[in-house]
């Protein structure tokens, strides 16, 4: 009698909602208080670290592209939506059809995304401007991004990851639980591009969706993806100075992780970033996803036996190595772009420039791939340093070729202009910072408030914690 009941109780999974997707994490929190409480703690990582301030070279590297406007180090998951709204990259739209960015920009920022995708259809979701769904996408990354609302099981809520896995030769029905503990993260911590996909909508109208797609069909390495993009004739933007058709690598965290020893030894992201934590008599996976260095005792020391200080030192040493090669590569790339600009100015021809242009495209791609995920220096130290070495070599090779071209046109010992501060670099790259901030502030005081009010009124945003998150941005005082 009593035993059966106890067993039933223990095995019962709360059903958060009978049907559909529950995007509000506070609703989940009623049944899973520990996970919810620790999830809220991701808000402790709130500080804005302006990467353009730290490395002004980046502005040159991304001239003509959104990232040259604003780019910060990642913060806690609780801030994903706020970062996305506040970044100057998403501009200051004045209405549903305005602004520089497409719907796809919401994809990795909110648990409302799977909800809305289910409601509208995937292609429909990926259609239109970013501002179209401002009042629908209101909960930051939350339970529904990783868990099934009915069973609470881990689930891939993003269809594009499933397609990518299949294209790269994996069988979905063979995925293990351990795989899922990384793939939940791979939904977002992966390199992507927006694939233009024409379709006919329900009302019979021709539409073009910009669908988040992972370029995994030829493999997950930097070289594999480069081949993929080259065959496809793809570019993210044309560089404003060098006129190179550029690729942007966005955080290939999962991809680089798979080349490292921890992946090879069977670890998943959750092993380090969500270690088992004990509170009283209860054990659960901490949902305070953060740098494991803030929690060495529960993460690293589960498997290793050294002092916390030793781990900090070893990770720091790896970081120093990456930083050294990273700064070198960024400097070479910036010089290459600026030298190319000069070459165009003095009259170099398309034919003369072609080899250097190909080389710069490849160099910057490899560089970006190797460091964009922030954690690769630790997840995959060997692969990261290799790629930085190769990227820098190509950038330098391009500079040598370009010096030759300049010499042909009589320019000897060309000195690249000074880009040693964010301000100077943005000047060179033609980024009208003040104007962008003004537009953004107008948006934040107007349309953005409307979105919020509507969402609260219609019951889509109920979480007092989310409402109360402190507003931060690179252009706001600290």
């Amino acid at each position: 009698g009593g035993k059966k009941e106890e067993q039933a109780l223990l095995n019962a999974t709360p059903v958060i909602k009978e049907e559909g997707i529950e995007a509000r994490s506070d609703e989940w929190g009623k049944y899973y208080p520990h996970q919810y409480d620790s999830w809220k703690q991701t808000s402790e990582s709130s500080k804005i670290e302006d990467q353009l301030e730290k490395y002004p070279q980046l502005v040159i590297l991304w001239a003509g592209y959104g990232f040259a406007k604003d780019y910060n180090a990642p913060r806690g998951h609780a801030f994903a939506l706020q970062s996305n709204r506040n970044t100057l990259r998403t501009g200051g739209p004045t209405g549903a059809d305005d602004g520089p960015m497409p719907m796809a920009c919401w994809t990795c920022k909110s648990s409302d995304v799977p909800r809305l995708m289910e409601k509208e259809g995937e292609l429909e979701f990926f259609t239109g401007k970013w501002a179209r769904a401002g009042s629908e996408i209101v909960n930051p990354i939350g339970c529904a991004d990783c868990h099934n609302t009915q069973t609470s099981q881990l689930e891939l809520s993003r269809p594009y990851l499933k397609r990518a896995l299949e294209e790269s030769g994996q069988e979905l029905d063979k995925l293990t639980f351990q795989d899922m503990r990384s793939l939940a993260c791979a939904q977002c911590h992966s390199e992507y591009y927006f694939k233009k996909t024409p379709y006919t909508d329900k009302s019979g109208k021709d539409q073009v969706a910009a669908v988040v797609t992972f370029p995994w069909a030829k493999g997950l390495s930097a070289e594999n993806m480069e081949e993929y993009y080259n065959e496809y004739g793809f570019m993210d933007w044309e560089h404003k100075m060098s006129r190179v058709p550029m690729l942007k690598a966005q955080h290939p965290g999962y991809e680089t992780f798979t080349t490292g020893i921890h992946f090879k030894r069977g670890l998943s992201c959750a092993d380090c970033h969500m270690p088992y934590t004990q509170k009283g008599a209860i054990k659960f996976s901490t949902h305070k996803i953060q740098s494991p260095l803030d929690n060495i005792a529960n993460s690293c020391l589960t498997c290793h036996r050294q002092s916390e200080q030793e781990f900090k030192d070893i990770v720091q040493e790896k970081l120093d190595r990456k930083n050294q090669l990273n700064v070198i590569a960024m400097n070479s790339l910036a010089a290459a772009h600026l030298t190319a600009k000069k070459a165009w100015e003095v009259g170099a021809t398309q034919a003369e420039m072609a080899p250097a242009i190909d080389t710069i495209r490849s160099a910057q791609w490899l560089w970006d791939y190797s460091i964009a995920s922030h954690g690769s220096f630790f997840h995959a130290p060997g692969e990261t340093l290799r790629l930085l070495g190769v990227a820098n070599n190509k950038a330098q090779q391009a500079r040598i070729t370009l010096s030759g071209i300049l010499a042909k046109y009589g320019v000897i010992d060309y000195e690249v202009p000074d880009f040693s501060t964010k301000e100077k670099a943005q000047q060179l790259a033609g980024v009208p910072l003040d104007k962008l901030v003004d537009e953004k502030q107008t948006f934040r005081k107007g349309l953005m408030q409307e979105w919020n009010n509507e969402a609260v009124e219609e019951g889509r945003l109920t979480d007092e914690f989310v409402k109360g998150l402190p507003e931060k941005a690179s252009y706001l005082p600290e």
Partner: protein, 176 residues
């Protein structure tokens, strides 16, 4: 001789022998060194050298010393009781030469070692203990007759073990 005298002499001789043996043992066994947990202390007896050498070349050399495995550690009473009991047993065996070339761990010794394996490795793999009954069939109070090293046969002394198994143990001598 009076019975009393015999008794008195016998008692004296007995005490003398005991004292003598004690002193001999103390000298022979470098008694004070047992207050430390340095592995080299165990090699005060030459018969431990081979065990020292095999341990020194094992995966545990950098992680656990002899007493980490062979003595109870969570409980000081048990620890010192075991230490003195072993000390006595080993000294007697050593002095009286009642051991063979291939010594074998006692049941009680094995119990303690087993507990220590579990102690250290519980933190490494939190599920090991929890599931120990399911996967390793440890059923009795003493964790059954299935020992960790039934499977992990190389941990830490290796498969071959005897007093003569590792001649020329330079490390033992160096550490002295």
């Amino acid at each position: 001789m009076k019975f009393e005298t015999v008794l008195r002499y016998s008692a004296f001789i007995a005490v003398a022998i005991a004292l003598g043996m004690g002193l001999y043992l103390a000298k022979e066994s470098k008694a004070t060194s047992y207050l430390s947990s340095d592995a080299i202390a165990c090699t005060n007896c030459h018969v431990m050298e081979s065990y020292y050498a095999s341990w020194q070349h094992s995966s545990h050399a950098m992680r656990a010393v002899c007493v980490d495995c062979h003595l109870p550690v969570d409980n000081y009473i048990d620890k010192y009781a075991s230490k003195s009991r072993d000390g006595w047993n080993h000294s007697v065996a050593f002095t009286l030469n009642t051991y063979g070339k291939r010594m074998l761990i006692t049941d009680d010794g094995a119990r303690r070692v087993q507990e220590n394996c579990i102690r250290c490795h519980s933190s490494r793999s939190k599920t090991l203990i929890k599931n120990i009954d399911r996967y390793h069939a440890f059923d009795s109070e003493t964790l059954g007759d299935r020992k960790c090293w039934d499977c992990h046969r190389e941990v830490p002394h290796g498969k071959v073990r005897s007093i003569n198994g590792t001649p020329n143990t330079l490390g033992v001598r160096w550490d002295r």
